[in-house]
Structures are given as C-alpha cells and as structure tokens.
C-alpha cells in the first residue's frame, strides 16, 4: 500500500511537471499578456507596479512559491478584491503566467 502510494505520488509529480511544461500557444500567450496588462492591470497597474492590488513585479513575487501564486490566480483570494480566474484561465496558463511574471515581462 505504501509502495502503491509512492508510485501514485511519483506518477502525479511526473504528470504535474509535464503539465507545467506545456506552454500555451504563441497566440494564447499574446492574449494572456494583453489580458495581464489590461484587465489584471485595472487593479495591479498596467506596468504591474501595483494599484489597489499589490505589485506583480519580479522583486515583489520572488519569495512567493509558484503554486501559491497559481492558486491565487485560479481561485482568487477570499476577503480581498482578487477574484478567481479559473473560468477563463487554465492551470497551465496560470503556471506560465507566474513564470513570466517572476522573470519580468519585457
């Protein structure tokens, strides 16, 4: 049983790392960056340096784990104005966005 669980965890982590590597198509990436600047930018600022919402610049995100940030994008943060975006952003896309945000957008 323990071994079975171990295999399941292994398979799951392989699956997760594979999905994490599945980048959105080039066209979808352009859409996501546009949405990031225009719609996320409504609260976080078009240059992402913050507004009513906190800044999303690399220095501000550096110490935050990727999965927590992905979760915030998908599920929102209750008690704050941050809404959930899972209705139009997939987990892969959110993971890609987080990686891009941590690198810094051009």
């Amino acid at each position: 049983m323990v071994r079975l669980c171990g295999i399941a965890v292994l398979l799951l982590s392989v699956a997760l790392s594979q999905t994490a590597r599945a980048d959105p198509s080039a066209a979808r990436q352009a859409d996501l960056v546009y949405q990031l600047r225009q719609d996320c930018g409504a609260c976080h600022g078009m240059t992402l340096k913050g507004g009513l919402g906190p800044p999303l610049l690399p220095t501000a995100l550096a110490d935050k784990p990727n999965n927590a940030l992905v979760e915030t994008i998908l599920d929102g943060r209750p008690g704050t104005p941050m809404p959930p975006w899972a209705f139009e952003i997939t987990p892969d896309e959110a993971a890609w966005l987080v990686r891009r945000l941590k690198e810094g957008l051009p």
């Binding site: 600047r37 719609d39 078009m46 240059t47 009513l52 104005p81």
Partner: protein
C-alpha cells in the same frame, strides 16, 4: 492722385493683416472641448463635440492606465492624473503639455478646489493626498494618510472637491473618511472619521456638494457623510443590500464618480451583484433594484435624469444597457464592441461618447434613438472627459 496711392497702401496693409490672421487658428471657446485618454500610449486625444472630431493629440504623459482628469475653471486647461504619480497640465487650445510633475509613485485620481487654485492628487504610494498650485504645479500641502499606532499609511481613494475649499477622501486600508479644509493652503485642517466600514474603494459627492458617500468593498453598505453637518458623523446606509447572498467575483471595481443622480434618486452599482440599486435621497432607503447584464462599472445618468447608461466588468464588458428611469426598465441593450470602458454625456445630453478599448475606437450615440452618429479611431481609449466638468462640484 496721392490720395489714391494712400488708399492703395492702406488696402495692402489691411490685406496683410488679414493674411497674418488667417495663418493663426481662429479664436474659439473651450465649452465643447474634451479629451480622451489613450491609456497604453501615454497620450490624450483632444476632441470637440460640435463637429465630433479630434483636434490633436498630446503625448509624453506617462502611465495613463486608470487616468482621470479635472479642468481649470476657465475650461482651458486639463489636469491629467496618471497611475505613475504624474500630474500633467494640458492646454486644450494649443494641444500642448504645459506642465508635468511626478509627485508620487502610484496615484489614482485628483480633484480641483472650489476656487480653482488648488489641484489635489490622491496617492496609493506613498498613501496620502498632495496639493499643488493649479497655475504653476508647485507643491502647496502634503497630507499623509497615516493611521493606527504604527505609522502605517493607507491608500487613498474617492477624492472629491467640496464647497468651502475642502477636499474629501477615503482611506482604503484604514476604513476612514477625511475632510481636509484648505481655506489656508499652508495649514490644512483635517477632520477624520474612523471606523466607517471595511475597504472603502471609491467615493462620490452629490452634485449639490452636500453628501459624500463611500462604497465599501469589504461589506454590503455605504458610508454617508453630510457635509453640511459633519459634526453628526458618518452614518451607514443600505446595510446588507446583498441580503446575505454570496457576492459574485468582481473583475473590475465599480466607479462611483459616475453614480447617477437623477432627481431625488441615486442609481448605484452594487458591488458583487449584477444589479443597480435605486436609493431615495434624504431617506436613504432602497426604493428598487434593476437586474442588469453583469457587474456594473459605471451607471451614468443622462443630464435630464430620464435615462441611465450602464457598462460592465470583464468578461461581460462588450455591452451597454440603457435604463428608462421612470419605468425602471431596460430599454436597450447595445453591443458596441469589446471592452467598453467609459461613457460621457455632452452637457445637454444630445450625445453620449463611449470608449471601446479593445476596438481602438470611440463611438458617439444619440441617446434618444440609440443610433451611432460618429466613430473616431483612438488608441486603447479609456476615460472620456468633457470641459463641462469644469463647472460641476465633485468633477
């Protein structure tokens, strides 16, 4: 003979004067002018509403996402408040940037004083209000939004002007409303109202300058301050307007500057509910609600108060609905295009201008027929501001 020559000379001089005059732009007023913010390009388009055309553009204004504008009392200059803390002064007649100061790291809007001599900017970073000379943009006063016991500073929202050389604003993080009296600009008198409710996200002042209202994100309700009787303090109205329903996610915060005020009715966008709330002035009781297409962002009354035009938050932001206020019915649902960000009526209400960010276009409608009467190409348009605001309290 000599006389004829003299007349001939005078004639030539007159012709020269006329020719020189023709090289200069004809004199004009500013009552039909305005500007449209091109949020991504850091530029504004100066427009006129008589011929519905663009007169010219002014660039170099910094980050104009969420930019707003107030006008000098003579309607000649526009003060454009950028997100990056930039306060820009634009000459509408010459379409030139005549002043710019970057006065903070992150700003959200501004106001002009009753006498037109002071311009105030509300800042997120550092949290507070800074006041400038409207003529020179020289700094006049700094009001840090410090709260609590550890010296924290709050983001400031909902800044408006009020009669008596006052500015009124809300502290988002602190849940406070402050009145700053700048009768003596060198020594602002600040009156603070604490515990007004959680997360005030925007404010408005009624067109007569009497009531200041702050919308609350953190709870269902509105904080109301009677500026004729500030000693009575802030009271809460419309508590629990969501009636315990789970609020829906909000993909763009409603803007309260445009809260429609029509006769004795206020029309308010609810936050987290796809409804407009109709509130009776003075009793401050709910007298109706109208289900609409999505999360309302702006609910703007036609100047005669008979219609209210509403736009919506992402992802339902390609629609504008028109409400007939006497019957409280939706009489039109328009689909002008993607990302309707703002609407502005001409002061007598025969035109409404609508910005369509993702279409790179501004459209003009006749509010009676709801037919499009003009369209202008504008790069990523957001706020539309007409000079009639120069003569209105709170705008």
């Amino acid at each position: 003979m000599n006389r004829w020559r003299r007349i001939g000379r005078h004639g030539a001089t007159a012709a020269l004067v006329l020719a020189v005059a023709a090289c200069q732009a004809p004199l004009r007023g500013t009552g039909d002018l305005g500007l449209i913010v091109e949020r991504a390009a850091g530029r504004v388009e100066v427009i006129e509403t008589s011929g519905r055309s663009a007169l010219g553009e002014v660039g170099g204004l910094g980050d104009l996402s969420h930019a707003s504008t107030v006008f000098s009392r003579d309607g000649r200059y526009a003060y454009v408040f950028g997100r990056d803390g930039g306060l820009n002064k634009i000459d509408l007649l010459r379409q030139k940037l005549v002043g710019r100061v970057v006065q903070a790291g992150n700003s959200i809007g501004g106001a002009i004083s009753q006498d037109g001599r002071l311009v105030a900017v509300s800042n997120y970073e550092p949290g507070g209000v800074r006041v400038f000379d409207a003529e020179t943009l020289a700094p006049v006063a700094d009001i840090p939004a410090t709260y609590g016991s550890d010296g924290a500073r709050s983001k400031v929202v909902g800044l408006v002007d009020a009669p008596g050389q006052r500015f009124v604003f809300s502290l988002y993080d602190a849940g406070e409303i402050w009145i700053a009296d700048l009768s003596d600009p060198a020594a602002p008198q600040v009156t603070k109202f604490r515990d007004i409710g959680r997360q005030p996200y925007d404010g408005l002042i009624t067109p007569d300058g009497r009531y200041y209202m702050a919308g609350l994100f953190g709870e269902d309700g509105i904080a109301l301050l009677d500026l004729w009787h500030p000693e009575k303090g802030v009271r809460r109205i419309l508590d629990g307007y969501g009636r315990g329903e789970e609020p829906l996610p909000v993909y763009k915060m409603p803007h309260l500057e445009g809260w429609a005020s029509a006769g004795n009715l206020l029309v308010l966008p609810e936050v987290g509910h796809h409804e407009l709330l109709l509130v009776e002035r003075e009793t401050w009781r709910e007298v109706g609600r109208i289900a609409v297409h999505g999360q309302p962002v702006f609910a703007i009354a036609r100047p005669d108060g008979r219609q209210v035009w509403v736009n919506f938050a992402h992802p339902l932001n390609d629609v504008v609905q028109v409400i007939d206020l006497p019957s409280q019915k939706i009489i039109e649902t328009l689909h002008p295009g993607k990302a309707v960000l703002h609407m502005e009526f001409t002061p007598r209400g025969e035109q409404v201008w609508i910005s369509l960010r993702d279409e790179d276009r501004v459209e003009v409608y006749d509010p009676d027929t709801r037919k499009r009467i003009a369209a202008l190409p504008v790069d990523k348009p957001s706020g539309i501001f007409l000079t009639a605001r120069a003569n209105r309290i709170g705008l």
